[in-house]
């Protein structure tokens, strides 16, 4: 318990310093939300100045930070200039959309990578091993951007699937079953890109970790006791190979909020990605800070999850 308390305190400290850092950097970046208006000759400088002071942008940095913290504690999480609403309502919808995409991608990627990695580790040097190594190398080399564009091109050409967005225009009027079909159809492209992008790293790590464990004497001993191949791989080898994979899982969870930015922008998925991009470009300060904080929370959760899982799954860590 003391351990968890310590981690919690550490995490809060991390969140506070992340928010300060983010605020500082955003402020240091040149320009503000109302700079666009300055370029418009029809709006006087006085109006701009008045708007700035109305939104509190002319106050000192620490004061603004204090006001933002108060807003967070109130549950609003700051205010968006562009959308004219508290950041919270924006964030929640977008975050939900992102999480839907990324958690499905993570699930699919891991469910594919684990058995695949275990299988090819058990057959080193054979044709399937060489094929998957070549395949993963190729996938690693191809940028996410290219994968997304390529897939979009195919989809547009064949008209097989909707090319972007999350739901169709008539979504609200569909039956439940049709809604699910529609959503799934829209999910295919971004999901495929995300899974293909993360698969090679996972497969290689699983393979590497398993290959190392399969050399261990206890595997030969279990084989000597007549344990079958499947049980040997999944009951003996995989749990012993799990440590680096658990850390990797923590990283996957950590990236749930932030890993899909590019894909969302290209496929038009209404998640945090496009929101962050928009807000950064228009200097919508508090939205940027809000999104970054959401990512940070997930990063912290991810690493905490990995540490807790390590203690649960590895009895040797428990003994220390």
């Amino acid at each position: 318990m003391k351990y968890l308390q310590r981690r919690l305190a550490h995490s809060i400290l991390l969140l506070i310093s992340a928010s300060v850092f983010c605020f500082l950097l955003s402020d240091l970046a040149p320009g503000s939300f109302f700079d666009e208006m300055k370029l418009n000759p029809q709006i006087s400088a006085g109006t701009v100045a008045a708007l700035r002071s109305e939104y509190g942008l002319d106050q000192a940095l620490p004061v603004r930070y204090g006001l933002w913290v108060k807003s967070v504690l109130r549950g609003e999480w700051g205010y968006s200039f562009a959308y004219n609403s508290p950041v919270r309502s924006l964030l929640i919808i977008r975050a939900r959309n992102t999480l839907l995409l990324t958690s499905l991608a993570m699930l699919l990627a891991w469910l594919t990578a684990l058995p695949l990695g275990v299988w090819i580790a058990s057959r080193p040097g054979r044709w399937d091993d060489r094929l998957s190594m070549a395949g993963t190398s190729w996938l690693l080399a191809v940028p996410e951007l290219v994968l997304a564009l390529g897939l979009l091109y195919v989809v547009i050409r064949t008209r097989a699937l909707p090319a972007g967005g999350m739901v169709s225009v008539r979504f609200e009027n569909l039956s439940l079953r049709a809604k699910i079909c529609d959503l799934s159809a829209h999910l295919v492209v971004p999901l495929t890109v995300l899974v293909l992008a993360s698969l090679p790293i996972l497969v290689r790590h699983v393979r590497a970790s398993m290959t190392e464990v399969l050399q261990a004497p206890f595997i030969q001993a279990a084989c000597g006791h007549g344990i079958g191949q499947t049980r040997l791989l999944f009951r003996y080898a995989l749990p012993a190979a799990a440590n680096p994979l658990i850390s990797l899982l923590g990283l996957s969870v950590a990236g749930l909020m932030s890993g899909s930015l590019l894909v969302e922008v290209i496929t038009g998925w209404p998640g945090l990605g496009p929101l962050l991009l928009e807000a950064s470009m228009s200097r919508d300060l508090y939205v940027v800070v809000g999104v970054v904080m959401a990512s940070t929370v997930f990063m912290i959760l991810g690493s905490l999850l990995a540490d807790v899982m390590l203690v649960i799954f590895d009895p040797r860590v428990r003994a220390d």
């Binding site: 003391k2 968890l4 220390d320």
Partner: protein, 284 residues
């Protein structure tokens, strides 16, 4: 239970002395509130005579390895003092100890784990010399080859990796590394366990030769009484973190005082006696 410190025959002065040495290790899970402490060393008062081979015998968990790392200044004891050559060393800072470290060296049990598998044999032996900035690169290699020959390894193998050697050859390599800095005190922590009988005998003979040539003082740690009983000058027996018996070899083996000593001797002698009965007595 008091600690018996046997009367030492005053032949040689003590090179290493400990007084009241204690060390605890704590164990427990990060999630549980309970942490229990293990007494690794309890009030150890011990002397190692200069130029002699002192054997430290005891079961697993009796604290032998903990005593070894405290003597080698690899860990600081919780209480008590260690003297080396008349100077107190357990309270010194790392910087002060730097000049003393070449004089105390250690050879570990598992040579495959104690030697860097990516280094060549010559690099392993020359490493301590390089750390102490003794010589140029060319001189390092020459010195490394000399040391290899001294421990009975062929200098042509200087570029081989440790895992290409056999277990006995690896231990010779570890010994060469240990004597590279011309130490006066060598601690051998179960360095002979896990080796074949003939390899053990060869390595022990090598150690005896090196002792004569360089005037080394040895602390030989083992759980095998039969092995040490042939080469030790003094024997100390450890049990649960304490030294329960200490004296000249013939005193401890011929006339054991403590139950633990008797127990260790018995298990060895039972096998030895039946072997001798089968083999027909002493051959020497």
């Amino acid at each position: 239970m008091g600690i018996e410190t046997a009367v030492q025959p005053a032949i040689k002065p003590a090179l290493v002395k400990t007084s009241g040495l204690s060390k605890k290790y704590s164990q427990g899970s990060p999630f549980s509130r309970k942490k229990f402490a293990v007494d690794a060393l309890v009030d150890v008062n011990f002397e190692i005579a200069s130029g002699c081979l002192t054997a430290l015998v005891g079961e697993s968990g009796s604290g032998k390895s903990t005593l070894a790392v405290c003597l080698a200044m690899l860990e600081k004891p919780d209480a008590g003092e260690v003297w080396f050559g008349g100077e107190e060393i357990s309270r010194r800072s790392d910087r002060e100890l730097a000049s003393l470290r070449p004089k105390i060296q250690m050879v570990f049990q598992d040579s495959a784990e104690a030697l860097n598998p990516r280094f060549s044999a010559a690099q392993i032996i020359a490493e301590p010399l390089a750390i102490q900035r003794c010589r140029s690169l060319k001189q390092l290699r020459t010195r490394a080859c000399e040391l290899m020959e001294e421990v009975g390894l062929c200098a042509d193998w200087a570029d081989r990796r440790p895992l290409q050697f056999s277990g006995g050859q690896r231990q010779r390599l570890a010994i060469a590394r240990a004597i590279a800095l011309k130490p006066s005190f060598l601690i051998l922590d179960e360095s002979l366990s896990g080796l074949d009988l003939s390899t053990q005998a060869q390595i022990l003979n090598l150690l005896l030769d090196l002792q004569t040539a360089h005037g080394l003082t040895y602390l030989l740690i083992s759980h095998d009484f039969s092995l040490v009983g042939q080469v030790a000058d003094f024997v100390a027996v450890m049990h649960k973190g304490r030294i329960v018996e200490h004296g000249a070899r013939w005193q401890v083996i011929g006339n054991p005082q403590h139950d633990q000593t008797r127990r260790l001797l018995d298990s060895v002698h039972v096998m030895g006696r039946s072997f001798q009965a089968a083999h027909g007595g002493r051959q020497r």
